[in-house]
Symmetry: none
Subunit: 403 residues, 2 copies
Amino acid sequence: MADRPIKELNWKTPLEAARKPSLNQIAKMGICGIMDPIAPGIPPGSDTATLALLGYDVLKVYSGRGALEAIGSGINVLPSDIAFRCNFATVNEDLVVLDRRAGRIVNEDAAKLAESLQKIRLDKPSIEFLFKNTIQHRATLVIRGRPELSTAVSDSDPEKVGEKVSEIKPLDESPEAKRTAKILNELMHKFYKVLKGHPLNKKRAGQGLPQANIILCRGAGTIPNIKALPELYGITAVCIAATSLIRGVCKVAGMKLIDVKGATGTPQTNFVAKAKSTVQTLKTCDFVLLHVKATDVASHDGNIKQKVELIEKIDHMIGYVLDNIDPDSTYLAVTADHTTSLMTGKHEGDPVPIAIAGPYVCRDDVEEFNERSCAKGGLNRIRSMDLMPILMSLLGKTKKFGA
Amino acid sequence: MADRPIKELNWKTPLEAARKPSLNQIAKMGICGIMDPIAPGIPPGSDTATLALLGYDVLKVYSGRGALEAIGSGINVLPSDIAFRCNFATVNEDLVVLDRRAGRIVNEDAAKLAESLQKIRLDKPSIEFLFKNTIQHRATLVIRGRPELSTAVSDSDPEKVGEKVSEIKPLDESPEAKRTAKILNELMHKFYKVLKGHPLNKKRAGQGLPQANIILCRGAGTIPNIKALPELYGITAVCIAATSLIRGVCKVAGMKLIDVKGATGTPQTNFVAKAKSTVQTLKTCDFVLLHVKATDVASHDGNIKQKVELIEKIDHMIGYVLDNIDPDSTYLAVTADHTTSLMTGKHEGDPVPIAIAGPYVCRDDVEEFNERSCAKGGLNRIRSMDLMPILMSLLGKTKKFGA
């Protein structure tokens, strides 16, 4: 949601350009500030940004995106598992990448191919793997077994069209890294063989669609070693989000995941359904994270008009929440997990606006929710990892340090 | 002193509601900001809050309250000693706590009982103990000896009326923890035997007063391993405070303790006597910490009117200091060690206001000393542990980091 001022909006940011009475209302009622996702100038990933928002010190606990995405996709990742993010992709006979997303293959086709891949048996019976497609070309892979495996392996994904698929290499001298690289290369080769000869790919070729004839993997990771929110604060916590990664982060943080009909993690998501679910959930639960992916998608695509419209839809969603909760017993915090610039199409290291409204909050004189107004607010400049302690302190859920 | 906005004060904080020309004068003359005692949202104890105010990184150096309180009570605590906070309390025949404060026993009675307890001999002659009453029901206990002792032991204080006194248990598998727990249980039992049969308790029973028939102990700690302020900055430093804990922290920080007649650590303390002593001390000394406990007491009691009045008394005290120092050669910093909420009666993790006045300070346009105005000040948001380096830098006492 957060962005930089742009010429097309008369040097306003999308938040400044959008009509957003409900977000402004929270700013007016509450205390505002700006917030560095990790530290000033450091662009976060969606994984680190969300972990930080939940109060974790990502510089200490982050252990890769793969496992978070895999958990979000429904795989029960164990602490000793190694997980990867994968793409269905298209290569030619020389293994040169032609399309990193296999024409954004539809979920149904990806699911059929994934099913065939899961039937593969590895040479080492002590090692097993779990492969699961998520949305379109995206998938996750988990490697499990004994003896121990390592995350110190390179990617097979060259992350560029026109380059050859990379051999996976150990990144240190440990026997674990060498073993893991060997297993992965074997698996990638077997995936390729199965996909190449798969009837579905023959059918796609006939339809003029790019074949999903290889799996590219990247970002070896494990689950982060963190204490869950219920344990840390004695709260019940719920996540309302559609994207696997956010769901994975929240699950690792001990939050319950709720499925909302029509919530898709895309600009076409059902905003009001998410708002209704939030209001309903707040009746029985201490903490709800309501996450919207859509503005990030529009920003990556450089779609100015769509981003402004999506902010207005988010505002409408927040309006529903505002109208249907008890303001005397509920705290509302609105913010962005990070800045995605419409101009660069990338995550940026800028601070994001934050507003917190609720009982006994030290209200300031900020009247609008955006990057510039909130910078004048009573919170001054905090970090994303400070937000949870601040909210939990308002709820009376933090433990005193000292006596 | 710091607090949240409350309904009874028209959604002002006590600092906003109080008449405080002198505190405002410092804000006007100086640079203001807000300050997190430890980190945003983390409620500090009085011990960690004061250590942080003196510039120490409590997340690294904090080692429990017991030893700080014991030092403040006048016991010369050694680095290998284990110290506890204790209460004289009242139990029934089944060791169920009836009154955790033995009817807030008066100092004179507590002193007599403490004298009898100190005569007890332990089975192990290599271990000795020091027991000292401080104010009313409060006392400190120090265990000393060889072989080594451990702080990894539980409390005997159940911290709740109606519950049974707890057996002290080792909190880890070390022989030191087991040994320490055993010694303490023996000592607690001997304390109980002496108190139960003490003539003073018979007399109290006759007067209808709760018997102080048991000692409850909690918060095993050692002295923190920190460098003293004179060593760190080459300054002479003095503490003007009445409460044992604050005195203990300051002593550990290498500060000289000054006794002021009429300073009691209560709302009835002699504010002007403390101000006079401060002015006098500043004539020969680089740094004086003038500490007032009273507003914290009023906050814990939820006494809104008293808190506002006490802030006005503090303002009067500060006025005396302002009128009697040389403003061209003296820096004045006013702040709170933490927020104690009148509503929750507890320490909260909110930032506190801070104002620093003196030569060459980069004066801002804040005109009032309170939580909201100071948030707009030129210091922005700092942490308590930043204050000493800032003051010492103004005094030219900090060492360059780098070359």
